[in-house]
Subunit: 255 residues, 2 copies
């Protein structure tokens, strides 16, 4: 049906019916830690479709930029963060009808920021918000398009990345306490880790963390001030903390 509507960008000699045009977008799932819980940055849609609903920030890829550059640009436009922050591609989505307007294939990116609260406060508070992840995963909050699935996949990806890369350090500041770092693992994996054993794994030989000599101020509840560390080079090659095998894997054999 569309054989006569060939876009001018397509070179002559190709039948556009063989190359159905798609719009390509990049969606960036921005994760951050806040009050010990994992949060995702969402924006409220101002236009149809899904007007007024929350959505993952994103935008169209330009022909002159790579996918990574598009993700970096969208992150910068949404948050003002210009640093080459941790930005990981985790999936592509192209189900027919996922955008009622046209054929859209989107590429999902995962970004990890620290202390994004100030950034959100700087933008229009009604348009952008940090949403606790649990509110999304338990179905309390609905998202536009297939963005709920995209967020789910991003979370699953960060759970794996946490085990095989140094992504954990991206959630904390330049200097951090081991309790802060441990809270990252606990929030993302949804488990509790023994503080003493965590320390032994991290502070063991291997250049994971480097003590700065400084100490953190205790919280309002008191407690001994924790030592401040900064990330070592070993994170570039992997992570020191591993999830224990899922006990539910062992099911009794049926003879």
């Amino acid at each position: 049906m569309a054989t006569t509507t060939r876009p001018a960008d397509f070179p002559a000699g190709y039948d556009s019916s063989q190359f159905p045009p798609f719009a390509v977008t990049v969606d960036v799932v921005i994760l951050t830690m806040s009050q010990g819980r994992l949060h995702v940055l969402l924006i409220r849609r101002g236009e149809a479709p899904y007007k007024g609903m929350w959505a993952v920030p994103g935008g169209f890829k330009r022909p002159t930029e790579t996918l990574d550059e598009a993700a970096k640009r969208e992150l910068s436009e949404e948050t003002g963060v210009d640093a080459a922050s941790l930005l990981t591609q985790f999936g592509a989505y192209g189900d027919p009808g996922r955008d009622p307007r046209m054929n859209v294939v989107t590429v999902g990116y995962l970004a990890v920021l620290r202390d994004v609260g100030a950034i959100v406060a700087g933008t229009d508070a009604a348009a952008a918000s940090l949403v606790p992840l649990v509110d999304l995963l338990d179905g309390t909050l609905n998202l536009a398009f297939d963005h709920l699935q995209i967020v789910r996949d991003a979370i699953e990806r960060v759970r794996v990345e946490l085990e095989v890369t140094g992504i954990a350090t991206a959630f904390v500041g330049a200097t951090f306490t081991l309790a802060e770092l441990r809270a990252v693992y606990e929030a993302i994996w949804g488990i509790e880790l023994d503080a003493a054993n965590f320390r032994r794994s991290i502070a063991a030989d291997g250049d994971w963390v480097i003590p700065t000599g400084l100490r953190s101020r205790p919280g309002p509840a008191g407690g001994r001030p924790a030592e401040l560390y900064r990330a070592g080079r070993a994170w570039l090659a992997g992570g020191p903390i591993h999830r224990q095998q899922d006990a539910s894997r062992e099911e009794p054999a049926k003879p």
Copy 2:
């Protein structure tokens, strides 16, 4: 510049200059084991650009199908394999100029087959071939487009999948010896595994493998016949074999 060449597929009210059209393709990296080595199925291009060079099989996504369906269709068209084989999306590629004809974003899929030799023999031998992976990774063979990077990423993905999923069983037949299964790990990870320890991990409680009572015929060199197993249910939840920590990670600390 292109504001006047809006495709008819795009609804009125949208400026096509805001939605630059892309072609979306799906490329399937088909891996298989042959003679104890990892091979990838490539096809020889019959048209420009890159005419005559080897490339990963793939094709255009249709607006009416999902990305997964497109990958499944391409796999079926190239190999005749219709089974819902293991098919994993691993990345999207959209660098400008990666296809000199137009703007193309491709989504990479990883397929694992067993005994693909007969399939390749059935097609035009000059158009499809199983290439040992080492010939690609050492730069002996050049690939069209950015397909070398795509293959590299597919390999990296299968290395991770091998550790966290049951993808290893997709490389072997319905029944297999533990030596065959071990060869999969050794070929993909490029390491040697102790046969005795491998057996202990696999044959331990947990329904990894189920003995069939049958035995394999020894090779020409002789040797005790190996018992034949079939895959158990535990593979659905992960893999039993894990790579040991990279010893090169431990570098001496510089005071």
